[in-house]
Symmetry: C2
DNA sequence: GAGTGTGAACACGTTCACAGCT
DNA sequence: AGCTGTGAACGTGTTCACACTC
């Protein structure tokens, strides 16, 4: 996942003696959990809770308390020993770290059933991001009103993305046209891409890419099912007691 | 991602003396990549390719060749030194490892716009899994035909899931009812859950849970955007040359 | 007493480099 | 010669345990 070590090259012949460290370097695993903490904290705040301990917040977030404290300590010392964390303040700090309050402009390319679902999905446009445009190639879809926006023609992709200052693009198209549309988004100034296309995409250095592959998720579960099935079968032949393989949460 | 460290207990007071180790233990990180290799290999097969080297397959899959070889070596020695891997055979072996050809029965709970998109999504029902039922609480939705299936009432959830032998459940509902519906699926015999609900779910030991949180994905990208923006700003004040932060792939 | 912040130990995952087979 | 399979080195992420603070 990218190489967030500041503006420094990473190529082979570079001993990288003293890469000037940026003030705060948050590890990727932690970044991936911050949105979860944020959501849980907002929920607590709405229910009038003003203070939480790491243990409480950890349980509600489905992680261990030590991990949670270490994650939060990346952002600074925002807790009070013997007491816990102030909910509102923590929400503010996490939001700051994630770069919310910037209102990043997001565009969705591909208004099939998935694109439509994303456009309507409340909370997909989380606080801090705003879907400002939808694109599609199908002339029948172009011009339709979806989620309060009029679908634009993909022909105008570059011009529109540039004009709207879109930095984050969501790809909800089939595998075949995905790479080409991805390239065009990047050419138009998009530097972060979230793809739902079931194919491997290649992006130039400096562009962040995240891929959510729905069928992959299912196949991973199928693997676990198979393991459980064969374990159960093995246990059945061996011992009368079965179904007791435990697991952690998450 | 659960705790797939074999059939080993994780709870406090459980020494679990001799958890019988199963023949092959595939690390979770590898399991998550197998579906990608599988897709790439099928694509190659359809284009008439019969043999690939680890390097070629690695590039096409967006990983390093050493990683790929190590992943494949978990399944056995299916390559030929000096030559590469036979595409068809590898497809077969990966499919075997993932437990395809079992035709796992999948149910989707929640037929809003996202549930609809999933039901229609070709390839969401990947080979090896089959969506056999849709459920919703809304009486207006119940009875509708979606993706070739008639939407059932959530009232009959337990009975229907049990009767249809559903082991894998997909939750495409809002946060509020998610936990309750998850519990009911588990009570009806579901042992793997894929949730799209923006909330933390708790499942009993022995049940696998994967959560895909769309807004989290966006916020992670927002974080990277912010870093890029501030790096660029810093570089602009420091040196005349900018936009040269390199990055690895993925 | 209660609970945070953190070094130190540990587990997991990735990369390297090369031995060994075809 | 070419490419797989894998031990060994490395880096990242998690867990433990406790010093320190309120």
């Amino acid at each position: 996942m990218s190489t967030p070590t500041g503006p420094r090259a990473v190529h082979a012949a570079d001993p990288d003696p003293a890469a000037r460290e940026h003030p705060r370097e948050v590890p990727p695993a932690t970044v991936a959990r911050l949105p979860v903490y944020l959501r849980v904290l907002r929920g607590l705040g709405e229910r009038g809770v003003t203070t939480v301990s790491s243990e409480e917040l950890a349980v509600a977030s489905g992680v261990g308390s030590a991990k949670l404290r270490k994650d939060l300590s990346c952002l600074g010392s925002y807790g009070t020993r013997g007491v816990g964390y102030e909910v509102d303040y923590l929400v503010h700090q996490i939001g700051r770290e994630l770069g919310l309050s910037q209102g990043w402009h997001v565009a969705i390319v591909g208004v099939g059933s998935l694109g439509r679902a994303l456009a309507n999905h409340s909370g997909f446009a989380a606080r801090g991001t705003e879907v400002v445009a939808l694109f599609d190639v199908d002339p029948d879809v172009v011009g339709q009103r979806v989620g309060g926006l009029v679908v634009r023609s993909a022909a105008a992709l570059e011009a529109d993305l540039d004009e709207l200052r879109v930095r984050i693009g969501v790809l909800a198209v089939p595998a075949a046209p995905a790479q080409e549309l991805c390239d065009r988004m990047v050419a138009a100034g998009v530097t972060s891409v979230l793809s739902f296309a079931p194919t491997e995409l290649h992006v130039p250095a400096g562009v962040d890419l995240r891929t959510v592959d729905l069928s992959t998720e299912l196949l991973v579960l199928a693997y676990h099912e198979q393991r459980k099935a064969s374990s159960a079968a093995a246990a059945r032949t061996a011992a009368p007691r079965c179904t007791d393989l435990l697991e952690g949460a998450r």
